[in-house]
Symmetry: D2
Subunit: 351 residues, 4 copies
């Protein structure tokens, strides 16, 4: 049904939306028809400079944006007539009311992890349940933290060694660009409810996952850090566990003995590697830090919340439109186009 490239709209040109837009442009089988927003400041002007057709959310927003000098190609309604699928990256309160609009326009839709599973009835992580999304009209990509959990625990589960997992999520308090009454200063804020929502969220993708998380918010903006205690089904060796993680897509190893010692050294490395915006789409898991004691496994990894869900969104586009039936092939195509790796620099230390 798609002899041409899949025609994609991105609704919401924020932290995630602008990255989805760039990722779509990088795919040979997709076309970015337009991006939608309501803002009129430098952020949307960069989209204009990149040559992305800009659409206003509605006519009210259109008026404001025109006054601000933003050249518009139309409104969201105009754009929906010209695309096959929309990646929705609007703020939480807006997104749920958009689904009706997308359905009415006959456009498939992908929502982000801030939305509830019940909005779409389907939650997506490419390497876990790609095939269940084939041909659906809508899905939601799970949150950054949940994506990382599904990737990693999914790998252990596939290796047949996962019994149950208990994790502590040390979350960044706000994104690096924010400066308006945002975040926290010089403190740590434990989340009110235990378990936090990532466990149940992961179960919308892998239903029988035995996982409970405690989440806290800490005084940094660089990424989330996860610390995991995993009960294995039996004793295992480090090598066996590392091999399970190696087989899975989108997990890359960090090594402390290589100087990758903290969240910010990873980000410096991403910058040096020329990653767009210094992004990391992979789960960054510390390899030499990982420890196995009998049938228990302990490890830390880094979740770059601003980008980790972007490759998932690209694969969701293929699944919903059905232009690729095989999840692993879609993953390979996306990863090649974006430049995901298993190893950031050549590892010359012994395991």
């Amino acid at each position: 049904m798609y002899s041409q490239k899949v025609r994609v709209a991105v609704n919401g040109y924020g932290v995630i939306g602008k990255r989805i837009a760039d990722a779509v442009v990088a795919q040979e089988d997709m076309e970015l028809v337009g991006v939608v927003d309501i803002s009129s400041d430098w952020r949307i002007k960069v989209a204009v400079q990149k040559g992305y057709p800009v659409f206003a959310s509605d006519s009210e927003a259109a008026d404001l944006m025109r006054i601000a000098g933003i050249p518009l190609a139309g409104t969201l309604d105009d754009l929906l007539k010209r695309v096959d699928v929309v990646a929705d990256a609007t703020p939480k309160k807006v997104a749920s009311s958009n689904l009706e609009k997308y359905r009415a326009a006959g456009v498939k839709s992908i929502f982000q992890g801030g939305e509830k599973h019940s909005l779409t009835g389907h939650s997506f992580v490419a390497q876990a349940n790609y095939e269940t999304a084939l041909g659906r009209d809508t899905t939601r990509v799970v949150s950054c933290n949940t994506t990382s959990i599904v990737r990693t625990l999914g790998a252990l589960k596939s290796a047949g060694i996962l019994k149950k997992a208990r994790g502590v999520l040390v979350r960044r308090a706000t994104d690096p660009w924010e400066s308006d009454h945002s975040g926290v200063m010089n403190t740590v804020v434990p989340e009110k409810d235990i378990p936090s929502h990532q466990g149940p969220d992961a179960q919308t993708v892998i239903p029988d996952l035995d996982v409970i998380t405690i989440a806290v918010k800490a005084a940094h903006t660089t990424s989330h850090l996860h610390s995991w205690s995993v009960q294995l089904t039996r004793s295992a060796s480090r090598d066996e566990v590392l091999e399970a993680f190696r087989k899975a897509p989108r997990i890359a190893f960090l090594r402390m003995d290589e100087g990758m010692v903290a969240l910010n050294s990873t980000l410096e490395m991403m910058s040096d590697l020329g990653r767009p915006r210094g992004d990391m789409w992979e789960v960054g898991l510390w390899e030499d830090n990982l420890t196995v004691q009998d049938d228990e496994l302990f490890y830390n990894y880094q979740v770059y919340n601003q980008a980790i869900v972007v490759p998932e969104t690209i694969d969701a586009i293929r699944a919903l439109t059905g232009i690729e039936k095989d999840g692993m092939k879609s993953i390979a195509r996306t990863d090649q186009a974006l430049g995901l790796v298993h190893m950031f620099v050549e590892n010359t230390k012994s395991l």
Copy 2:
């Protein structure tokens, strides 16, 4: 042997030492004979203003301190002749060489948690092993984190419901007063080795404790946060678990529904309660946040690293000198003198 008050010296008037000095002064059965340091800036001048006799570490330090105008009562060697016990709060590299000096002077000694168990052959947490310290010539009080672990897991163990505990320690990166190339900025740094040292350290006090910790350093100075996943011996109710914690000394409850939502709100409360230096000596455990699921227990607590070991040090003075044979009585006396509580404000919410 101590018809008079026990005569105490504090060697090292830093973050911990200055607090030990004040705590000794607050005890009716102890006398602070002097404090020892090498610095000559405002920090030691405050000690002078408080009327604490100040001794120099050695004659070199004495010269420098005199030049700076610090009135000295002598050197450490002079002070050792006039005391029964010394609380050593010197930096790590210095402390171990001090033990010989103390022994040679026939003075009992208490070291802090930065020292290894092997230095003294004995590690101390009042509510866990007070009696094993009676009459010894030396002991070490375990670190702030380890102290909190022994108090809390010890309480669960005493209640007969502890099987094993896995914790993540989100540590403050440096102390609030530091400004010289200290700490970390906008990042989280996982510790290189898993398990971190607190588990084995706790086992020097309660040998059969099954505990493993992962530690990370985060971008705040306010206190440490601990997140725990505990495997119980059987299913239990929240009430049962809370009761076990309530029975233990030196654990106080925080409640999120009372506005105690983060490390820094606790510290604001300590200030408002008129605590000296806004200190908290208790483990601050979030009561309404604590969750039990079948035979698993999850909770968060706060460790005020600058003061939590101070009451332990006071009890160690009594144990070593034997002026109190009963640990619980020493604890009661210390807690009463300092003002430790079980509840910071009256709890008018239901459990």
Copy 3:
């Protein structure tokens, strides 16, 4: 008219209000009749524990507070019948509507620096214009930054050497206790308008002050830092300038060569000195850092925003009620009761 102690109410038991309450209690010629708030969490419970009669803002708030178990002595309207003056420390949007209520109750009122000069028609800094407040029904104490400007530039003006002053205010982004979407992280935010409001605000107290400030918000919570470039009327020596500052009340010297090297070392010192909440009411001006070059003067000082306006508020109570006609005497009485100093520790270094 006040043979008894002046009867005082504090409306708003927040960062400033709770400190005003304590300061009133410390004065021999004042009586704290009650504090008013709408909150029902730990913050007001500490007031209850301290024995402060608590009043609800209105009957709606009273209902909520009673449900939460806060013992109430009445509402604001009840309290206003029993006091001579109210120190208003409510949030900005609330305060301006309160003035009518106070006037209707025949109660004198003091507002804080967040309110505009036009609300009361009078702005107050004790050492600058105490006498102009005598017998007025209302005044506002200027903001923390403005208070520091009036104290310091006022001192130079009194010494006859001030021509004009240009300052940069590096402000703390939020208060230490805040953790709810508050502050900024890892950035500096320049204020949109130059000059910032402190210059014009200072001119409501000293009208002919030639002062312009640029303000920025930085990533700390500890206090504000001011950096000043002052054009003198003529060449002067460091000694002459320091003498001008020494003569003024409520300016105390910090010395870098004593280890007072940063905002947080000052706060550590306040804690060690046993200041309530580790507060500093004085402007903390770095003495050895101050530099004179010909007829230009450069210096840095620290403004502890949570407390600096408290002694001013106490003096305003005396001025409005007229129980003390002489500003310097009121200042002396307040400073003695609270414990303000000119020198934190004995200065043994040469000037």
Copy 4:
């Protein structure tokens, strides 16, 4: 003398060095022959992956690097035989001893701003004194802060309206990648000496500049912020001042009304614009924030310390080797190759 491209070595592959290397590669008239370092972790491995020939500082370093698996093309001494000029970006203590080595090898050299003016006898800012560097054997590029001062005050001086300038520098405490006892936490640290060194440093480039700065270190890593109070020679309009800045190279305007409100929003914009490492080489000066009052001028600007000196270093290569005699032509060539701009996004707001 240089019919071929100028052959360049970069000694020190750190924050500045790695950027100089990339900038040299971007120039058509230069060739990066090799980079030199002593490290063997991920940072130098990225250089290897980029295809940069890596040389060890000396044979000791070579041994360690080889053990770590870093492929080496030789040592510094080998490299010096094959280049015309070396850009030295080594740590302060190392750099000064390198000059003799470079001279002995007959290689021209450029040092960074951490070195003293006396090391080379010449200090360089392309738009201020390019021609004075022609044919010299060595120069130093001034520091990031000083570079920004020379560019901006130089522009005002060229417009004939600068009398004197007084600035406050709010410096970042450490670089974004650092995590080892680096930086400060939750405080501001004023520098001990006033004036700070940037004024005298700027005078090594523009000798009669009347400039005094106060510097403080704040709790962020994102860039430095400068706040300036400038005394003009006469009254001027905003437009006149803005025009002076517009005429100068390497100053770009930020606008708060476009959402560029803080240091971190600028960096987000650089990322979105696809700048390598999200770098900004220009002084980022807030246009709508700039204020003129009679004959006084006030403004804020941002100094991206990790990159601002890189274009200067490129121009210094041309000046020392003499391959371009005209400073403005070298600047144009460098700026075009790197992609410097005067305006980041199209300004659709009125001035």
